[in-house]
Symmetry: C2
Subunit: 202 residues, 2 copies
DNA sequence: ACCTGAACACCGTTCAAGT
DNA sequence: ACCTGAACACCGTTCAAGT
């Protein structure tokens, strides 16, 4: 639709580069991100990015922040109506977390990469914490209602996050469960172990 | 001690390159592995490695295999005498796993990197499974003695591995627990959640 | 203010040639 | 059989110059 002639000044090259980069991330899977390749796709000289990002790591960090925000959105969307039990809400949320990783492997890995972390300094952790708000809510409410055992919320959140992170990455690496490709059984089984560990047993 | 004159033929360049690479891995932490840098350290031309490894990924894969073997050794060494309870053996083993990661961050990450996995094909998974033999033993014995709930061993092993993997990586990324640097409390708390999830509750 | 082109210092990899 | 040096096709980054 938008077939304006190419102007020397691009307009919003920053936004375009981020979008193009995200598209590249979701396409290829055996993946090697390159500023020059990005510039080629965006139809711009390979030095243009330096007006908008100090260096490659800064661009990656920005993508990682966007990824954290998308994870937050995905987890929020996965929380079903209040009608269902907290336990089922927790299960749906957990599945959504793992699914986010398996559907966006490159982005998920980028969100935890050293490059992004160092360049984004504290901001990446902030966005990560924001993404986990749903998890925190569920755990606080679960403790209040006597579903989960009492304890430091931050510790339970940490345990749950670590578990979900591990399941996601092992699944991405093809290391979880027997060689039943495409099966969710192994990751579901792992999630149940997590649940048992958090739940109150009378 | 060994001050033989430099021969044109190195002797065991393959071994030397692997050792030098492992040394580089443990030294630097904000780390960027380079074949040319490796060659410089080994005092050899930057093309010499191609006689011993088809490409960079193959060398990395070899290092990853060595890492898996070292993890196996670390876990075996951490299994204390038969006198202590299975539960304590499990805790010690878990701590040893996380400690291996925090003490060898670059090597641990390499063990799960895409480069290494693709180049090593099945062998990396094999060595990984071998490394987890201690975990499998503990879980099988735990089920037999009624300490752990009955269930598919492979599923419980997967859940435990994912949990340990996640705790290790979040710890390496500085994302686990409050900002109590150097504290093991967050990862210990997470391990207890895992234990609760696996244990039999009467 | 935003973008380009040439230039620099690096890579991984190949290949003919040396020992 | 093992190692080297020149060469090639790539990077990320800088900087003077263009619009």
């Amino acid at each position: 639709m938008n077939d304006e002639p190419k102007r020397y000044h691009h307009g919003d090259l920053r936004r375009t580069m981020l979008d193009t980069a995200l598209a590249m991330l979701t396409e290829e899977n055996g993946w090697q991100f390159t500023l020059r390749e990005l510039a080629r796709r965006a139809g711009v000289s390979h030095t243009a990015s330096y007006k908008h990002f100090p260096d490659k790591a800064a661009l990656l960090a920005e993508l990682a922040l966007i990824g954290m925000d998308r994870l937050r959105t995905a987890l929020l969307a996965a929380r079903p109506s209040e009608a269902v039990t907290l336990r089922n809400q927790f299960i749906e949320m957990s599945r959504a977390y793992v699914r986010f990783g398996t559907e966006n492997p490159n982005l998920y890995r980028l969100m935890f990469s050293a490059d992004a972390r160092e360049s984004a300094s504290g901001r990446l952790k902030e966005h990560g914490v924001a993404a986990l708000a749903v998890l925190v809510d569920l755990i606080e409410e679960g403790q209040r209602l006597g579903w989960l055992r009492k304890g430091e919320v931050v510790e339970q959140v940490g345990a749950a996050w670590a578990h979900l992170h591990g399941v996601t990455l092992l699944t991405l690496d093809g290391l979880l469960g027997p060689d039943v490709v495409g099966s969710d059984r192994a990751s579901d089984a792992a999630l149940l172990v997590l649940l048992e560990g958090l739940e109150q047993h009378k």
